[in-house]
Amino acid sequence: MADWDIWAVIAVLGVATACTRSALWMVGHRVTIPRRVQEMLRYAPACALAAIVAPDFMLGPQGDVQLAVTNPKLLAGIAALAYYLWRRNMLQTIVIGMLVFTVLRVSDVFH
């Protein structure tokens, strides 16, 4: 991506934050969001975040699907997920996940 493109991306990301965080503040009066709509406003980000991380966990460097236990990112992701479900601590989860990933990557146990 060219330099100019990245600056444009940064600008539109700023707009994305402003639209979602500030819009209802600007409206001024009270807006009640129906419960159903609220649930959908949670489904959408969950789906988007899942769609973003899934390829990083499951695809190899060449874009090939790697679901075997020899994929260090997938194993590290599973370990991190399990740890997060257990302790609900984000930073510890990141450290554990990076640790598993790095140990698998450096020791190269599967090759």
Binding site: V12, L13, R30, A44, L81
Partner: protein, 253 residues
């Protein structure tokens, strides 16, 4: 100390200056927010590292974090920027990821609808998940009240500073660490931790699984459109299951 308490107590209720600085409320807000600041510094560092590791320059990463101020949207945009996705796809992704803030702003904004427009804009812009939750615990009712604004500011400003400080440390740390450490993966793990609490019911879980599978299968689509296809598929799944559940409840209700 007694004097200032008395003073603010006297001002309470006269209604002229509900938004004036209230040192007692400020201190209370700061103390409530304090425990979250350490986590924010560290989380900012992760995002900072991920930004420079995905190829942004130090300047670009710094401006991004000041302008966007949304860790999840920033992390979400990084793989798309690295892959050269069209700007429309990147905007749509960040927008969808940020949609959850609409819920929080709907809860928080009515407390401050009397403030000037520009102040509402920037207070909204820097209000995140955590600060909103902490504020609503202290002030559940929306009526104007002396000290509210000071309490909110005492949550928002330190949060902003902690996050930005952490991010800048991460940006410089990240540019010093060799690429083969693959520290950018920490960003992926961070997204995983934001994702899990958003799975509020079985409909959301099914949506997330479908979105994940479709995004892997549709990964080869041009312009990273596979991502949007995956989000739409996941959303439709979640809504369909939600609808089916609703109907069942009505029938057996």
């Amino acid at each position: 100390m007694n004097g200032s308490r008395l003073n603010s107590g006297m001002k309470r209720g006269d209604g002229d200056d509900v938004d004036g600085h209230d040192p007692v409320a400020w201190r209370e807000g700061f103390q409530v927010g304090l425990p979250t600041l350490f986590g924010l510094v560290a989380w900012g560092m992760v995002v900072g590292v991920a930004m420079v590791k995905s190829g942004l320059t130090v300047l670009q990463a710094s401006v991004m974090t000041l302008v966007v101020y949304s860790g999840s949207a920033q992390l979400a945009s990084l793989p798309l920027i690295a892959a050269g996705a069209p700007i429309g796809v990147i905007f749509a992704t960040a927008f969808v990821v940020n949609l959850r803030f609409v819920i929080f702003s709907a809860l928080l904004a009515p407390h401050f609808s009397h403030l000037p427009l520009f102040q509402r804009f920037y207070l909204g812009h820097i209000s995140g998940d955590l600060t909103t939750a902490l504020f609503l615990q202290r002030y559940p009712r929306t009526a104007p009240e002396r000290g509210k604004l000071s309490f909110l500011k005492a949550l928002l400003y330190p949060t902003w500073i902690a996050w930005q400080a952490g991010t800048f440390v991460g940006i410089f740390l990240g540019s010093a660490v060799p690429a083969e450490w693959q520290l950018g993966f920490a960003g992926t793990l961070a997204i995983l931790c934001i994702l899990v609490p958003l799975i509020i019911n079985s409909a959301a879980l099914c949506g997330v699984l479908v979105a994940a599978i479709v995004s892997v299968l549709a990964h080869g689509l041009p312009y990273k459109l596979g991502l949007l296809v995956a989000v739409l598929a996941g959303m439709s799944t979640a809504i369909a299951i939600e609808e089916a559940r609703g109907r069942r409840k009505v029938r057996h209700g």
